[in-house]
Symmetry: C2
Subunit: 242 residues, 2 copies
């Protein structure tokens, strides 16, 4: 019997945890928290129930890990001329990721559900608001904002509105990217000075452009097709155990 | 044995139906669709299970009636100088009603859930968007809109954003009215001409003002306190059967 090196064992545990998280995302996205079955999750992840419980104590902890995923692993973006553009890019990149990453979609879905009160649904909102406020405060220091703008106000507005546009787009089968683009196009002229407003890119496809450069849409098609997310490839048929 | 006149019988049936709907709202608001128990609903409504099934064939039909309630019974509002103000008032009055009417709160909650696919969650969005578009088209005919505004775009934006601000406010314990006021304050200057924009009332409390006049907040306190909605008094301890 071969003994494995600790590093190999650890890598495999990380892969297993990831496989479970991705499988949970598929099931939570499809059924929501209450109706999701752990047996479906272990089947999709191709792991044992024991492996699942090794990584996540309960369905609740697993759902919480899915919820928290939306604020982990923010992609590093190239610096922009205006902080206001960075502010816009947070949401435009997120709409790109929502399209391509099931984990992100499931995370927002669980955040938007009203069920199970013990799940912490406030933290994702707060984390997003804090992130937006920090960027907007920096924009303010650089003189990009209109007078008397309290950075908290547009930050809350964008985060809350975004969540609703996400739900509505899902329910009506609309393209979220286009809806989010309209949100920024309508809101930003009342947040930033005109000289900044006219230089912002708030058009659909901005997420792909900032991630992959001016040929974003083309590069995205190249990299994203087949549902493989550009940031973190989904585990494909991983057979793993804890 | 006294025989009742048909009118008396019919009135009672209407009251029973309403009592069940209000009780269902309480339970759906608290637990969501999946976890809601019909036994709790009949207990609160003080009706028999038979009476419930007489009015609503199934839990699903009952939930659908709650969902549909948000678009029924739009309050009649006094005409305003600008159609753009009517556009704003749709949402400001709705945020007032959300505060005071459990049926409206439960309706939006069920609309925002992702669970049970057979419930029709698209219709409320579509009905709200259609209502907004109709008002904005009239505003456009009167020259109130900026050039090249497609009434569908701000209508979708407001309806979707509103839904998210509602969920976020609920989750974070924020005052929805203040969030919605910021939505209109930020969006309307990019929809209507400046001469209309500066005359719009988009401040918090607008819902109460348009319903009760300039002393809206005071009148609201007078009429709304104790959780009794201003438009349709909740049945209080109605003992009714089908």
């Amino acid at each position: 019997m071969k003994t494995e090196r600790p590093q190999v064992k650890q890598d495999r545990a990380v892969r297993t945890r990831r496989a479970i998280l991705e499988a949970a995302a598929v099931v939570f996205e499809e059924h929501g928290y209450d109706a999701a079955k752990l047996s479906d999750i272990v089947n999709i992840a191709k792991v044992t129930k024991g492996a699942l419980y090794f990584h996540f104590e309960s369905k609740e902890r697993l759902a919480q890990a899915v919820i928290d995923a939306q604020n982990d692993s923010q992609p590093q973006l190239p610096p922009q001329q205006y902080r206001a553009q960075d502010f816009v890019d947070i949401g435009m990149v997120f709409s790109h990721r929502l399209r391509h990453e099931v984990l992100i979609r499931a995370s927002t879905r669980l955040t938007l559900e009203y069920g199970n009160r013990r799940l912490d649904r406030a933290s994702p909102y707060e984390a997003w608001i804090d992130l937006h406020v920090a960027v907007l405060e920096e924009a303010q220091r650089r003189g990009e904002l209109l007078p008397n703008v309290d950075p908290v106000v547009p930050s809350r507005l964008i985060v809350g509105a975004y969540a609703g546009l996400n739900t509505m787009s899902y329910t009506l089968g609309l393209d979220l990217d286009a809806q989010v683009a309209e949100l920024y196009t309508h809101v930003m002229p009342n947040v930033v000075v005109p000289a900044v407003a006219i230089r912002l890119d708030t058009a659909p496809g901005r997420g792909a452009r900032v991630l992959y450069g001016p040929r974003g849409a083309h590069e995205c098609r190249h990299q994203c097709e087949g549902g493989v997310p550009p940031q973190e490839p989904a585990p494909q048929g991983v057979r793993a155990s804890a």
